[in-house]
Symmetry: D2
Subunit: 144 residues, 4 copies
């Protein structure tokens, strides 16, 4: 799958009085890019939720390398690092589009739950989704 890189323009309301983008907003950008990737995989997050599946965050981490500023456009590279049918790990690299400078690298881990909080095995019960995730993961590995 040829992936279209996700872009975000750093907004004024995302800055703080240090004059930079507040660090918590990068988690928003990760989410934007993750959801965009799943859209591109044909598994829009809204579609998942309509099927009664939610995908909460188990953990997140982010290392800040340089400071993003208001007005710059960042590219958020996102990679489905691991997927095993019940959990997945996504990794992210945020770069300044103009200079290519890395702003941060990060990772988020997710599981799949029903609306009332029970674990879902995509592998068993949502075969089509499971296949899409697997294909994307394998391809990602080959390209790496």
């Amino acid at each position: 799958m040829k992936v279209r890189i996700y872009e975000h323009r750093a907004q004024y309301y995302e800055t703080d009085q240090m004059g930079i983008i507040h660090h918590a907003n990068y988690l928003h950008w990760f989410e934007e890019a993750r959801i965009d990737l799943m859209d591109q995989m044909g598994m829009g997050y809204d579609m998942m939720e309509k099927q009664g599946i939610i995908s909460p965050v188990l953990s997140v981490r982010c290392e800040y390398k340089s400071m993003a500023r208001f007005g710059e456009t960042v590219q958020v590279l996102v990679n489905l690092k691991e997927y095993n049918g019940i959990r997945m790990t996504m990794e992210y690299t945020v770069i300044d589009k103009e200079t290519g400078q890395i702003r941060c690298v990060g990772e988020s881990r997710h599981c799949f739950l029903t609306r009332d909080g029970k674990p879902v095995s995509l592998k068993r019960n949502y075969i089509e989704m499971d296949r899409a995730f697997r294909e994307y993961t394998e391809q990602g590995k080959e390209e790496a």
Copy 2:
């Protein structure tokens, strides 16, 4: 009813690169104070939602008088200005606790809906809530 004034400490993540609290955050503070008031009236917003009622915002306005800054504690005075059984209007004054300086004044209007979006008449169907709102509104008027 003796109302406890709602206080909020202006947070670092609420600032922007102008070095002040970003203007959109005042709507958050209005909401915090509105929900706190409804708690004090014995009609917690979580309780309303459990009864299947949501209370979306119809309109909001805010006039900014002076700039709140990181670290200051503001008091959010909130008043139930109007209530007619199907709609309500709340008004707000945000002041710096230390100096008494007014930061902003504002207003929000709300209706009551069921979860699936149908209008609810508290007057007809939720008599207890209706009474609480009326008592609080009348008292507010007398005090004014």
Copy 3:
């Protein structure tokens, strides 16, 4: 001036537990569109700040007409309604791109200040900016 309409995709982190976009986020969208318009006018907000001018919000209002939801793309139409050399008023209409349904209409008023908070007359001291604002306002009126 031919203006490119500003678009925003409603994000997951912008929703609340009512299942809709939280009302405060519309102020963010107004800001995004306002800054984009000023960019198109050749007066990027970052450029203004580099010249030592900030443009705080004096007031804002928003009337919510229908509920925006996660995943939809909205168009934010923005119009420079009034400008007199020391203040300006912008008005906004947010519509769902797919259906054309109006999500909200709003307005924000702004002044111009130096970094240390003194009022700036663009008319007197920043003639080029002043001209750009005037041209855009007049054109807007003619087109209306």
Copy 4:
């Protein structure tokens, strides 16, 4: 030093359409508690900034254990895990005040910079601050 535990009430605007607190907001809570701790140590963040020192985040991580919901009060336990004169690591545990259930655990690493981005050694140039950090760290270790 006897530390007062920081408390935060989970707000409506912090929820998302999953019906829980959006995961990015925990970074805000970490920041609130971190700043509160530094206030208690006599080194308010606003005071640091007045001395021309900023303390950007180098990295952050968070493991989500259970879901916080609107209306609950959480306690944010914060511990100065490491401090060496030029960097520090804070760790956090967020628990539901009522049940004691752990919501998440996390960590953030920080350095100290001048306003124009140059590294600051508190050890060399801000002896008083350095002492306060050290005392608090050592005490933390003894108590552990």
